[in-house]
Amino acid sequence: MAMDPLHDQYGLVRIYGTSRAADGNVTLRLHDRAVELGADEFTSYTRLAEWLPTGRPQTELEAELGMTRDRVERFVAMLEKSGVVYSTERIPARLTGEEFYRDYFAKFLPSWLGEAFSHPFWERMMSGKGSARLYTGWLFELYHYTRNANRHMPLSCAHTRSKPIKALRAKHYAEEWNHYHYFSKSLKALGFTEEDVRSSVPLPMTLALSNFMRQAAREDVLAYSICSAVLEGTTTDRGTYSPYYEKAAELYGIPRGAVTPIFAHLDLDVQYQHSDLFLEICRAVDTMSAERASLVLDYGHQLVEHIWMWTENIERYYEDDANPMPRRAFDPIWD
């Protein structure tokens, strides 16, 4: 199926939020700006967005929009100027690792984290519609996620050929490998025994996070490192995450002993300055192609989507009182 030029010339910019005003105007939130479109413009944009990745001829789009060829091209040029579509010609062929970090990743990260934590679970927990059981389930999964660092962090060293990068990755592992103890301590403060915690089984999406990190570690150390950077980004700013733990503790009667170890963990991450690690790794990359940059960004954004779906999995499982907590392994004798 041959493509019309527009298919090749333009790409869609990710929309992180949409809101419609009373007058019908629609505001699209991009990573760096908000773009307001009139109601008709928005309808046309939606049709364009649906058409662009297809192989359908441009004449079909023109008919759908009721526009001539020239007018469609002017409309797309206007959308490019406002930032909701981009011209593929403007993608740089190569860039340095530091440029990748500074000009792209660092600018995208806040929106990515916003997307990762846009799941309604957080609002539910903060508004008192959650439960101690949901909070505890979340802690169990955090325990497994942290413990599973041992499944992927060393693998990222093993598959790296760059000496400076493997040294940075190894140091990170040495500093983090046993952080699951913090969550174990929290769970024990909630009444679980060491055996309960140690023999518990993670949810499939918790396991999936570490399996995805293993996949990244095998494919490209920058792909792995961007995932790690997204995860570290979730703990960089204590001011962002402390209110959740504080409020949940207050709302659901979580004992202090179950919250203190989590803060100790967050503080340790800040102390190690792990959020700067990705910049250091990127500085060790003299040049990268647009294709590699695309792959690395893909991993980063997929990690964001993993976090959203992880939250969904936790909420669905632990909100059902009939599901065991902790989750136990199947045993042919006991089950």
Binding site: M1, R14, N211, L295, L297, Q302, E305, F330
Partner: protein
Amino acid sequence: MALDAMPLLKRTAKVSDRQHAIAISYLANEVTLEGAAASLFRKLFPHLDGKKGLGQIAETIAEPAPRVRALLEQLRTTGALGFFDDSGQTITGKEFYDLHRRYCAHWLERVYQHPLWQKLTTGTATRAQVLGFAFEKYHYIEGAYEHMAIAAANATPEMMPHLAEHFIEEYNHGDIYRRGLRSLFPNDVVLRAQPLPTTRALVNFLSESAARNSFGYYAGNELLQMTENTSDPVAGGSIDTFYDLMRKHYPYTGKLIDSFIAHTKADQSLGHENVFMKMCASVPPLTRAEVKDAMNIVRMMAEHLALFLDGIDAHYATFPTMPRTPCTLLSE
């Protein structure tokens, strides 16, 4: 049954005391005890923890041991009751096959009852969910290049011929789905499309299992095959109804549905229905640890399959962008 045998009511068995009777449900079965049997069970129930011998329990509850034994023997046949001292025994491949079948039917219930099926067949699924369903099935089937290859490359000597054949027969099944998707999107867009994290999770779990436990991987894969590869006319009929309803509610999916049907037929033509049974019949007896490992893979596979559906349902309802094109430096 010896007097020192230690009876254990399975922790997944549910006991409901209905005054005149006691119902014990376990997997898909339910047994009801009435009258004297129910009274005896009430006395026995607190002791069925695998820690005390049958003789000791009989003595504790002041009941004749033969009477206690008779009831426990009956409960054992339902599967709801085991004996802790069974743990040292091995089980045959045939017994494993029966165990696998029993649990798969139970673990797949969540998959069969998933709300996504209802949405797809009543016309209430969104365009993103419908197309997403097709894309994710494609990504999952295309994942054969990963997990089936890893399985073949890491196979135990006795499993190698099965896993090699499996890969060679199925590695190109993704192309069948791709043909359907190409009716709506250019080939390049389909090839570069990104799977959902939940689909990636399923493929990665298959790959990780394939790398470390050939038999467990195949047992897990068998659970997935059970949902696709049916020669049962009733199940086959419900699949046909599903496709008919999709065509009716989403007319733009015609060629996608053709590809789904072509894939089901391709799977059925391989005649894989009995492969796992034959494989089980040929393996040496399995230890409790081996059974436990394999069955945990199977249970986790069922959970990943449900997660696969959760992803299509929840993600595409919230993030309807379709298809999921890869990032570029300017797309974010």
